[in-house]
């Protein structure tokens, strides 16, 4: 274990190196690009032997990655925003094929208009694709989750691809202290690749041929069961990771509680702004407000049991979404509400931090204070201090 000051993207590249990835299909897109740049540099220096396949689009990046994975090779790719949207079809093919693959998404807003900054809508829009979906809240977690992703994805209870999200720029480009494991520790944690079947010209098979309706339905059912069964695998692998690789980490549960058990009020969110939220919660606690946080680390599988247990009996829950589900607030709000509506009297949703709008600890403190004193609307769009009012104008109004 070595302590280094590195960015989230560098941390992910190191995880890919440590996992001994055989093939990566790559196509650049901000803010993920430095992951693959870092891998290309490692390859140029002879530190890794990963085959780097440069393609002409993200659709092909995933196709190349899936192709390698089907042939029995540990494979990785990374993308963001429009890239993930363009890759969408192959994202579903990969999950449907039940082939272990790992992808990192440096989250970014979706156009138009062009916006390179952070929000989670690209990531959350893949929530029904059948992938295991984890989201980091700091560069250390990005490294840890990427390494765990290979083992989770390759676990016989799972056999599904896994996506690791991290906030674009806020995590991908922030340099901070990261404990980087050594090769031996990882070797002990990560067994050789396993997958349900391998495409091999010596023993031909067809993947994804036309299946009759009932067989198709059974396949979709199987993905659902694998995703549900992945919960236990994730906890078990998380604990093993702490034992063998990073003793400073806490991966015994899918989601993470902060000052929640004795809290009357709970905040639910995902990603990097958990850091500022913890500071805001500490300040409110000092003022005597019993408030805590549940950080969603796994969007899929959605651990209904963990989330219900964590929020059961709270007076009110506030769900923060850094992504949109137009007309319904945000995806987390919809999920949380459907999970706890019968055990929590009030579940409110907040959409904020969209398109890179910075939401800091002071903004969150103000928001949480407002929440504790009672928000009338079910869902609000929250603009941080300094932004007084949104003026919704059509071009016709602009002189």
């Amino acid at each position: 274990m070595m302590r280094k000051v590195i960015s989230g993207n560098q941390a992910v590249a190191l995880a890919v190196k440590l996992a001994n990835v055989g093939v990566t299909g790559i196509y650049p897109i901000t803010p993920q690009t430095t992951i693959i740049e870092e891998l290309a540099e490692m390859r140029a220096r002879g530190e890794i032997s990963t085959e780097i396949v440069r393609v002409e689009s993200e659709h092909s990046a995933m196709a190349a990655t899936l192709g390698a994975a089907l042939a029995g090779i540990r494979a990785f790719t990374a993308t963001a925003s429009q890239g993930l949207l363009y890759m969408h079809e192959m994202v579903w093919w990969t999950a449907g094929s039940r082939t272990p693959v790992v992808m990192v998404v440096g989250t970014r807003a979706v156009g138009p208009p062009w916006n390179i900054w952070n929000e989670h809508t690209d990531f959350t829009s893949e929530r029904d694709s059948g992938w295991i979906m984890a989201f980091a809240s700091n560069p250390q977690e990005a490294l840890d989750l990427t390494l765990q992703a290979f083992r989770i994805s390759e676990d016989e209870r799972v056999f599904l691809p896994m996506m690791v999200g991290m906030d674009g720029f806020i995590l991908s480009h922030t340099k901070t202290n990261v404990l980087v494991p050594g090769g031996e520790e990882v070797e002990e944690f990560l067994p050789p690749r396993r997958q349900p079947y391998v495409v091999d010209p010596e023993e031909p098979l067809g993947m994804g041929n036309l299946f009759p309706p009932i067989e198709y339905m059974k396949l979709r059912n199987s993905i659902d069961l694998a995703l549900r069964n992945s919960e236990d695998a994730i906890r078990e692998i998380g604990r093993d990771y702490v034992r063998k690789v990073n003793p400073m980490g806490d991966y015994s549960s899918l989601n993470v509680k902060y000052k929640l058990d004795d809290a009357d009020y709970a905040v639910v969110l995902m990603g990097a702004w958990a850091g500022d939220a913890m500071e805001a919660i500490d300040k409110l606690r000092e003022e005597g407000v019993k408030i805590g946080m549940l950080r969603i680390r796994y969007l899929r599988p959605w651990s209904e049991r963990e989330i219900r247990n964590a929020l059961d009996g709270k007076k009110a829950v506030l769900v923060l979404d850094r992504s949109t589900s137009f007309g319904r607030g945000g995806p987390l709000y919809v999920e949380v509400k459907s999970t706890v509506a019968d055990v929590v009297p009030s579940v409110k949703g907040v959409v904020s931090g969209i398109g890179g709008v910075a939401v800091n600890k002071v903004d969150l403190y103000n928001l949480f204070k407002k929440f504790v004193s009672g928000i009338r609307e079910d869902v609000i769009w929250y603009y941080p201090e300094g932004v007084e009012k949104v003026e919704l104008r059509t071009p016709r109004d602009i002189e």
Binding site: R3, K4, V5, P31, H173, K175, N177, N360
Partner: protein
Amino acid sequence: MLEIRFHGRGGQGVVTASNLLAEACGLDNLYSSAFPIYGAERRGAEIEAYCRISDSPIRVTSPVEEPDYVVVIDPSLLRISKAVFRGMKTTSKVVANYSGELQLKWRTFTINANKIATELGLVKSGWPMVNVVMLGALVRVMGIPSLEALKRAIEEEFEGRVAELNAKAVEVAYKEVKENYVLA
């Protein structure tokens, strides 16, 4: 926790400066984080970068709005920028690349970094590279990280003659930075 905000222009190595500071702190076994606000950067555009230093893990990931130190890498920003002094507390300090005396509301330290860089031949495409010079001054004013750690971080970031010149520049700035006293 110490919060530092760097102000400069695209092409002056503002991001590299905050990264180097964070790396040097890491070498001194401190916790640190560094990040910029990314925009559509072009040479000459106003750039901000942030660095936090602490003896415990840093949780905050948002931009620095109430800095303990503001580092002004480009002197012209003192004249034209609205962003440089925002959110400053009475205890905040300013470290500026400036050739004369500065009279501000806060404790202010100046260093003629343009001159140091030019004299050492730290010039790229006609611009004196003052980012690392400013770190020498900042490290002196803050007292952390150690000058040794900063020089090690420079050796890891740069190569050959550039590394050598930057290490020398840091030493000069460390010695020459001076506080500007407000005259009563």
